[in-house]
């Protein structure tokens, strides 16, 4: 259960990162770490398999591009299906977080 949750979370974060535009793996990891104020450390051992999985499902697409420093890099962008998936997963995530919060901090009577 926990593994599923975390894996799903990484997928969600990747999709969210790509909403802003295409990015390569390094940027994706960087953005996630930066935006979470370094709380979430992305393991590259799971990042690349996750990217592969998302691409396999058709939620993201990839192409080769040139990086800021003129290096060749593989870029990923969100597909239409990916956008739908992101909306769906976000709302599920919010429900889940809300539910957990209600359990942890019961509303005052």
């Amino acid at each position: 259960m926990q593994a599923d949750l975390l894996q799903g979370t990484l997928d969600l974060l990747i999709l969210q990162t790509l909403v802003l535009g295409a990015a390569h793996g390094h940027t994706i990891a960087h953005v996630i770490e930066h935006r979470s104020e370094a709380v979430l450390q992305v393991e590259h051992g799971s990042l690349y398999p996750a990217l592969h999985r998302l691409e396999d499902r058709g939620w993201i697409a990839s192409f080769w591009g040139t990086s800021e420093n003129n290096r060749k890099a593989r870029y990923y962008r969100l597909t239409a299906a990916g956008r739908r998936q992101l909306a769906q997963q976000t709302s599920r995530w919010e429900q889940l977080v809300g539910a957990i919060n209600r359990v942890l901090r019961p509303a005052k009577e």
Binding site: G25, H44, P49, H52, N69, A73
Partner: protein, 870 residues
């Protein structure tokens, strides 16, 4: 996962490699921007990414058809490993092939003999009905015709019941007469067996009536052999025992009951056969088909009630007689079952020993491969993945071994199939068919798991870093525990098998050395059966036999020729109740019985049976002179005590009009029934008691077998229609009598011998390995002044400790298990201490030798070399 992706997975991998490379470059750039040196920056980037190969592999796996893919990889890798270590592979495959082959062969026998149904319709409903008088020593016995008729009329548990009277018939056809095996059966026989004819019909109820038109049913084989598979055979006539029969039908191919029967005639019960005196004449087999829903127990209950009714009605003949209901398949294979049970246990043990041996080999090799595996670990291979690869290798090993094992099993089966049915019923149907192959496949996988799992777990347990640090001196004491335990296990199992085969061997030797009371060397025997139609009077029969004997005795090279109503080499044929003047008052049912032979004067001399007192029969004992008899020593001792039996009288065949015969001689006992005890026998001259069914004995100067054609020719010179059947030498008959104990002794000894070889190889292997690993330690000891003998003792004591433990455990195991073989033993108890000690000592010595060789190698260790080796 799509097939397309699967096929393109290598291109994908290239992509990923480039992508990861790009990542490293970008990260390095950033690190440099953060102020690191080029070197530091690259190192930090690598550390951040982790193991790129592992990431690639994970993605690669996502693209592949997981299990099949890695299985294929493992198989290829396994084949490479096995080919690289050809010596190891050969030994392991051969060891396992012996175990798997033996198991396959024994299972194929069990499958064909015990598990496959008999070739009849609903064979589990066919039962044999027998009479039984345990108190008189007849746990199962033939049925008398009047009892059969009463059973058939009153029992309600059966759909059909039929009498069978097996017999032989002289068949006159073409140049040489032939004797055919067959049976006279009641018309309900074919219904009870559930057998239908291939053509024509079987018997009808009206065929049971004596004197109606004579009809015969042929077996498929006889129809093909003698009638050239003539489709118009129905209605044709054939001559049996000089009488003409019309062919009514031909049975399906494969139908042969009683075993060996080639033709069936309707039963003929004359008035006398069903009369009150005939109730004591037991000679019929009775089979029946249970009604559906009736169990054997229920049928048994009813039959017992019927028998006790007859006991009350006819106390004179039926007192003590009850009946038994046994399933036909049980009866057909009953005595083989326990043999096969013991043998399958033995091959199971053998396979376990083979597994232990191969596991030991694998463990030894595991230490050599420890570095390889450790490197794989550090390269990112998962534990499960490595364990799976090792197990795949093991199963590959056991798979190849089953291939070789199947070849071995096929050889064994070919040998077993040639055995006569008396040794192994249904032997002809043994084959490597689908169920047997399935069995082999299952044991191949199981053995692969059994011997592969332990080494695989062992090897993947340790910390890889430690192993790499250890360097090439891969020594670990932990693994020794498992290897030693395996050696103990092997020794234990081998000892159990050795004790078992030792007991059987001892029994067999004692069985062989029993003095049977007669000579079988240089003797040729044959069966003569005179048809009543041609030789209706006793005088004609006596005349025929006299002429045959006279002609045979004048043949050059023939010492003696004799005749008897039974052949002691095949077990006595007849047993009759008898009375002396003392026993006369007893009811017939209580009178003692003895083996009974009608013989020609030369019989005792021909068979080397010693005359102990009085005289043998002569030509003067004839129809006109007073009736005489000869008795065996056991009978004389038991019933005449210290009185001289000569001149006393005896009546044989009680209840049929008592005729008193004077005892003129006492001869040695003949163990014709069982080697256990000398049976009481009584003899009568054939000239006073004509007999139409005789065994011919010819004793010659040298090899008797060359007289076979002479015997046929001389008999045909007296009567050209008279065949001589079953001509065989005394040696052949004696070999046949002990064939079954011989077979099981041979097989068990073979398995035990193999077990011994494998176990001593195991001990040798472990000791060699220990010595090799302790070279350094031994070198140190010797450098510090330890003598060769103390080194020798060090190594030997190690090996012997394991052996002794195995012997102790094995003795306990054998003690518990050998009682299962009680029925096979002759003059040896299942816990015979001498055998136990002998076997233990033998195994100890073999083990000593097996560890002495490596121990001597240890003493040759040069301390300087051993220490420098470090």
């Amino acid at each position: 996962m799509s097939w397309l992706r699967f096929l393109h997975r290598d291109r994908w991998d290239q992509e990923r490699r480039r992508e990861l490379q790009a990542y490293l470059e970008i990260e390095t750039d950033e690190n440099i921007a953060r102020g690191m040196t080029q070197e530091q920056a690259r190192y930090a980037a690598r550390r951040k990414l982790g193991n790129p190969t592992q990431i690639r592999e994970e993605i690669y796996r996502m693209n592949s058809l997981g299990f099949i893919e890695s299985l294929w990889q493992d198989l290829r890798c396994g084949v490479r490993m096995l080919c690289k270590n050809a010596g190891f592979t050969a030994i392991a495959v051969l060891t396992l092939a012996l175990g798997i082959g033996a198991n396959t062969a024994i299972f194929s026998v069990i499958h064909a003999v015990l598990l496959s149904p008999l070739p009849y319709d609903n064979p589990d409903r066919i039962v044999l009905l027998m009479e039984s008088d345990p108190a008189k020593g007849f746990p199962t016995f033939s049925v008398s015709p009047p009892n059969y008729v009463d059973w058939r009329n009153s029992a309600t548990s059966f759909e059909a019941m039929a009498s069978i009277s097996p017999g032989t018939f002289n068949f006159a056809s073409g140049a040489e007469p032939e004797r055919l095996r067959g049976a006279r059966v009641a018309s309900s026989f074919f219904t009870a067996m559930g057998a239908t004819p291939a053509m024509g019909r079987t018997f009808l109820p009206e065929d049971d009536v004596v004197g109606k038109a004579s009809v015969a049913v042929l077996s498929y084989g006889l129809w093909a052999r003698h009638f050239g598979s003539d489709p118009q055979v129905i209605g044709k006539s054939l001559t049996l025992d000089g009488k003409s029969y019309r062919v009514a039908g031909v049975m399906q191919n494969g139908f042969q009951f009683p075993p060996g029967a080639e033709l069936w005639l309707p039963s003929e019960f004359a008035k006398d056969d069903l009369g009150p005196d005939a109730r004591g004449a037991h000679y019929l087999w009775v089979i029946a088909r249970l009604k559906s829903g009736v169990s054997i127990q229920q049928a048994q209950g009813e039959m017992q009630a019927v028998s006790s009714g007859l006991e009350h009605q006819y106390p004179r003949t039926n007192t003590g007689w009850t009946s038994r209901v046994v399933s036909l398949s049980e009866r057909t294979v009953g005595n083989v079952r326990s043999t096969l049970f013991v043998l399958s246990g033995a091959v199971g043990f053998l396979l376990l020993i083979a597994c232990a041996n191969v596991a030991n080999l694998l463990l030894a090799r595991a230490s050599a491969r420890r570095r390889e595996i450790a490197i794989r670990f550090s390269m990112g291979a998962g534990r499960l993945r490595i364990a799976r690869q090792l197990v795949t290798e093991s199963i590959l090993l056991s798979g190849s071994a089953s291939g070789v094992g199947l070849v071995l099993a096929e050889w064994a089966i070919r040998a077993l199939r040639t055995l006569p049915p008396s040794n192994l019923p249904r032997a002809e149907s043994i084959q490597l068919d689908l169920p047997v192959l399935g069995f082999t496949a299952v044991i191949a996988i199981l053995t692969g798991l059994l011997f592969g799992l332990a080494p695989a777990l062992q090897i993947t347990r340790g910390a890889p870093v430690e192993t790499l640090k250890e360097g090439r001196r891969a020594s670990s004491t932990g693994r020794h525990g498992v290897r030693s335990a395996l050696v103990v296990l092997e020794t234990t199992l081998a000892l159990v098998l050795l004790v078992g085969s030792g007991l059987l061997l001892k029994s067999f030797v004692r069985l062989q050395s029993v003095d049977l009371g007669f000579q079988s060397r240089n003797i040729l025997t044959g069966e003569l059966s005179l048809p009543r139609s041609k030789y209706s009077t006793g005088q004609q029969q006596i005349q025929f036999f006299e002429q045959v004997l006279e002609r045979l005795e004048s043949v050059k090279g023939v010492r003696e020729a004799a005749l008897a109503s039974g052949n002691p080499m095949q077990g006595s044929n007849y047993s009759f109740a008898f009375a002396t003047k003392d026993l006369q008052a007893l009811a017939p049912a209580d009178q003692p019985s003895a083996g009974y032979y009608v013989v020609s004067p030369n019989y005792f001399q021909t068979l080397g049976i010693p005359l102990l007192a009085g005289r043998t029969f002569t030509r003067e004992d004839s129809q006109g002179t007073p009736r005489v008899a000869i008795i065996s020593r056991a009978l004389a001792r038991r019933f005449f005590y210290d009185r001289n039996p000569l001149g006393q009288t005896i009546a044989i065949g009680a209840g049929q009009g008592t005729v008193w015969r004077e005892i003129v001689g006492v001869v040695g006992d003949v163990k014709d029934d069982s080697p256990e005890e000398g049976a009481m026998s009584a003899y009568e001259p054939y000239t006073q008691m004509a007999w139409d069914d005789m065994t011919l004995f010819v004793r010659s100067d040298g090899d008797a077998s060359k007289f076979a054609t002479t015997i046929r020719a001389e008999v045909m010179a007296v009567d050209k229609d008279q065949p001589v059947a079953d001509i065989s030498t005394g040696e052949q008959l004696m070999a046949q009598a002990v064939a079954q104990p011989q077979l099981r002794t041979l097989l068990l000894s073979l398995f035990a011998g193999l077990a011994l070889v494998l176990a001593s190889l195991g001990i040798y292997g472990v000791m060699s390995h220990t010595v090799a690993q302790r070279t350094h330690e031994i070198g140190v000891r010797m450098a510090l002044g330890a003598g060769r003998s103390s080194v020798l003792r060090l190594v030997l004591s190690n090996g012997m400790r394991l052996t002794l433990l195995g012997i102790a455990l094995g003795s306990a195991g054998a003690f518990a298990l050998t009682r299962l073989m009680k029925g096979f033993l002759f003059h040896v108890t299942p816990t015979d201490p001498v055998t136990f000690v002998e076997v233990a000592l033998f195994l100890f010595l073999v083990a000593l030798l097996a560890s002495y060789i490596p121990a001597r190698r240890a003493t040759r260790v040069d301390p300087v070399v051993a220490l420098r080796y470090e």
